[in-house]
């Protein structure tokens, strides 16, 4: 099976495997007084310091470990909106991940005002439009660093500046879940107050993530229980998962320049060969402002549902839209926000390349895609 669905999840990096295995005997609950507990606590806090350093955070206690990207997004959006007691207002873009959009909708149900900022036909957010939506009671703005479907890169730095100018008390969150594997992520350079990561998108284990929370930012917890993570995230710590995540972060950062050249090259080869073989295929999203590993393509007149099944039968794993709980392919809210009609949205496929992609994979993928298209014609 040729795996070109790395944006959904990517295999564990060797360093992450090693880190997980190193926990064979370190099983302690960090919240305890004895030696077993202490060694787990030490491993957890060492990982926190390394994570903070990798993100350019000033203090290690600015890192809150979570059970993944969705929880980090929930804590950021709902936690910030509810920090003041009564629900504050929320501004999000129309192409955010469901974890952000649904957290905003939750705040809306509690009585907060929710503004959804539209995007242009390439899926890009206009920083000025975000600032226009910010009012005196806007608690938090959430705009992603890169879109998980098209890979479109947003101008988060410019959004932060525009929002600060409008309301200096408004917090800015960015979901960097999809971007981290190939884009530099430095919380100070970005200027954000909150930033989410999910380990499994860059070669860490599933079920672990983190939220960067700038020093001084107050959040209302979304999980209620013990006082772990300085009261910001209840629940027994996951030192093994965290160690796996941070090892993968280190490997990702060390590999990033090479990844961009290497994996970006595979993606470019794929798109070039495919454009020659299937001239009607179109690149969705901004061609020159997107993640190097994403190829989001439209196949006019085709059904992505049928294509994905045929690709699977032919040994190629790709994706379309976002899978719903039953597994059926739903029309993507991202493409709808970009102005795609239903037919165009239902004809789109995302091929995403990753750290295990090999030379020759792009050529093989093009061969499979063209073979399936010819067979269907």
């Amino acid at each position: 099976m040729l795996y070109l669905d790395h944006a959904a999840t990517t295999p564990l990096r060797p360093s992450a495997w090693a880190a997980l295995e190193s926990f064979r005997h370190t099983f302690g609950n960090p919240s305890g007084v004895h030696e077993i507990s202490r060694s787990a606590k030490n491993a957890l806090e060492a990982a926190r310091e390394r994570a903070a350093g990798l993100l350019g955070a000033a203090r290690s206690d600015e890192i809150v470990f979570t059970a993944g990207g969705t929880e980090a997004d929930n804590l950021a959006v709902a936690g910030a909106a509810l920090a003041g007691g009564s629900p504050g207002d929320v501004v999000v873009s129309a192409v955010e991940h469901k974890a952000v959009l649904e957290s905003a909708a939750f705040i809306g149900r509690l009585g907060g005002r929710v503004d959804i900022v539209p995007v242009d036909g390439r899926g890009l957010i206009d920083p000025g439009a975000v600032a226009d939506a910010v009012g005196p009671d806007t608690a938090v703005v959430s705009t992603m660093l890169a879109n998980n479907e098209t890979g479109a890169l947003q101008s988060v730095g410019a959004i932060v500046e525009a929002v600060r100018e409008k309301n200096s008390a408004t917090l800015v969150h960015t979901d960097a879940v999809q971007a981290f594997i190939s884009e530099p992520v430095d919380v100070v350079a970005l200027g954000v107050d909150l930033l989410s990561l999910a380990a499994h998108k860059f070669g860490g284990p599933k079920g672990v993530g983190l939220l960067y929370v700038r020093d001084g930012v107050r959040l209302e917890p979304v999980l209620h229980g013990g006082s772990q993570e300085r009261g910001r995230r209840a629940g027994t710590h996951n030192p093994m998962g965290v160690a796996g995540m941070v090892a993968a972060m280190e490997e990702t950062v060390a590999d990033r320049t090479s990844f961009r050249a290497r994996v970006g090259g595979y993606r470019d080869t794929f798109e070039r060969l495919l454009a020659a073989a299937v001239p009607e295929a179109e690149v969705n999203g901004p061609p020159d402002r997107r993640l190097v590993q994403h190829a989001h393509l439209g196949f006019p007149g085709r059904s992505s549902e049928t294509l994905l099944i045929r690709f699977d039968q032919a040994g190629l794993a790709a994706a379309a839209g976002s899978a719903c709980q039953s597994g059926a392919v739903e029309v993507s809210h991202v493409l709808a926000a970009m102005g795609f009609d239903e037919a165009a949205a239902a004809a789109a496929i995302r091929f995403s390349f990753g750290w295990t992609t090999q030379p020759g994979d792009a050529e093989l993928a093009v061969k499979i895609v063209t073979g399936v298209l010819e067979d269907l014609a």
Binding site: E305, T306, I309, C324, Q325, A328, E330, L376
Partner: protein, 354 residues
């Protein structure tokens, strides 16, 4: 041969998939997502639920076959649910399972079978497809208690050549026993009785929610036209219905007619239900042509026994005349024509002939 098996998550289609695998075919399991809740998710109660899709997926995993969910929500709504509501609005008693087979399963899905890489489409229906020198025959399933040939009458030669109905060769107890032998998780799952998108709820509640215009009150009258009560909407009634009329009378009273334009429900006694025949629309014949001899048996409801009848042409359409008058013949239901065990064809009952 590559087989696409439509798996509902029930025991019949689970066993259909298993039989195809055991026969050595290359099998792909699919589930049609036909209906969704307002938020776009699968229903959690009734049929077509998340749990059903999950059962189908798990059975596919047990059989070690690929499995996919296909989105047919828009097609299903347009071709099955909307006509269901419109049928009740016009005083008919629609049969959505027939329309689903006609327009979704054995049309849209069958046409797509090749695109999905399949040579044949397989379902878990209790009916048999037989090749005879004169062409394909559609026959009743072996199990008389489970025979589903009624809802497949619209199939014609081109379709029958591309479908397989393996459980039609088995009885229901045999199907369950086979599922148990294979350890399929659906072996003991209860049969679904209800209309899938209505679920366990009352279909009248479904109509009130999705087709509020069916809630149009009107009079209940007797055969002589005397008003003897009122009702909350004609969609609450079907021809032959006895219970829930909301009228106080000594003798048993049955719905004998529904006049949608005036929202009038006519009730009468048992004999007022008797009709001599019915006219058909959407008529089709399995052989692709009408039978030479009009002497046949006909079923006017899924759960009724076939009765002797004559099929004759009338203008552009067809008329069925029962040898003996029949009760409870409801426009909108299918009249399915049999010659012994073989389905000859059928159509939708347009109107009754008294």
């Amino acid at each position: 041969m590559k087989a696409i098996v439509a798996m509902s998550g029930g025991v019949d289609s689970s066993v259909a998939a298993a039989l195809m695998v055991e026969a050595g075919h290359d099998v792909i399991g699919i589930t049609l997502k036909q209906w969704e809740d307002a938020d776009g998710s699968l229903p959690t109660a009734g049929c077509c639920t998340v749990g059903d899709a999950e059962d189908a997926r798990r059975v596919a995993a047990q059989l070690d076959i690929p499995y996919y969910v296909l989105d047919y929500v828009d097609e299903f709504r347009a071709a099955v649910v909307e006509p269901f509501g419109r049928g009740y609005l016009s005083g008919q008693t629609p049969n959505p399972c027939v329309e689903c087979n006609r327009t979704v399963r054995f049309k849209a899905l069958l046409e797509r079978t090749a695109d999905l890489g399949g040579d044949v489409l397989v379902t878990g229906h209790y009916a048999r497809v037989r090749w005879h020198p004169a062409g394909y025959r559609l026959e009743r399933g072996i199990d008389p208690a489970k025979d589903q040939s009624y809802v497949l009458y619209m199939l014609t030669q081109a379709e029958l050549g591309r479908i397989r109905l393996p459980v039609g060769e088995l009885t229901k107890p045999e199907v369950r026993a086979h599922a148990r032998r294979l350890g399929l998780r659906t072996a003991g799952k209860p049969d679904s009785q209800e209309i899938c998108f209505v679920g366990k709820g009352n279909y009248r509640n479904f109509l009130a929610e999705h087709f509020p215009e069916t809630a149009r009150p009107g009079p209940i009258v007797d055969a002589a036209g005397n008003r003897i009560g009122t009702h909350e909407g004609t969609a609450g009634f079907t021809i032959g219905q006895r219970r829930g009329l909301g009228i106080a009378v000594q003798e048993p009273r049955f719905v004998v007619d529904i006049d949608a334009p005036t929202a009038t429900v006519v009730v009468g006694d048992r004999d007022d239900l008797l009709v001599g025949g019915c006219s058909l629309i959407n008529t089709s014949f399995v052989a692709g042509r009408p039978p030479r001899d009009g002497g046949l048996q006909v079923k006017v409801r899924y759960r009724s026994s076939p009765v002797a009848a004559q099929l004759t042409r009338q203008g552009d359409g067809w008329v069925v005349r029962f040898d003996e008058p029949q009760r409870a013949v409801a426009p909108g239901q299918a009249a399915v024509l049999y010659d012994g065990d073989a389905v000859v064809g059928g159509g939708t009952i347009e109107s009754v002939i008294r």
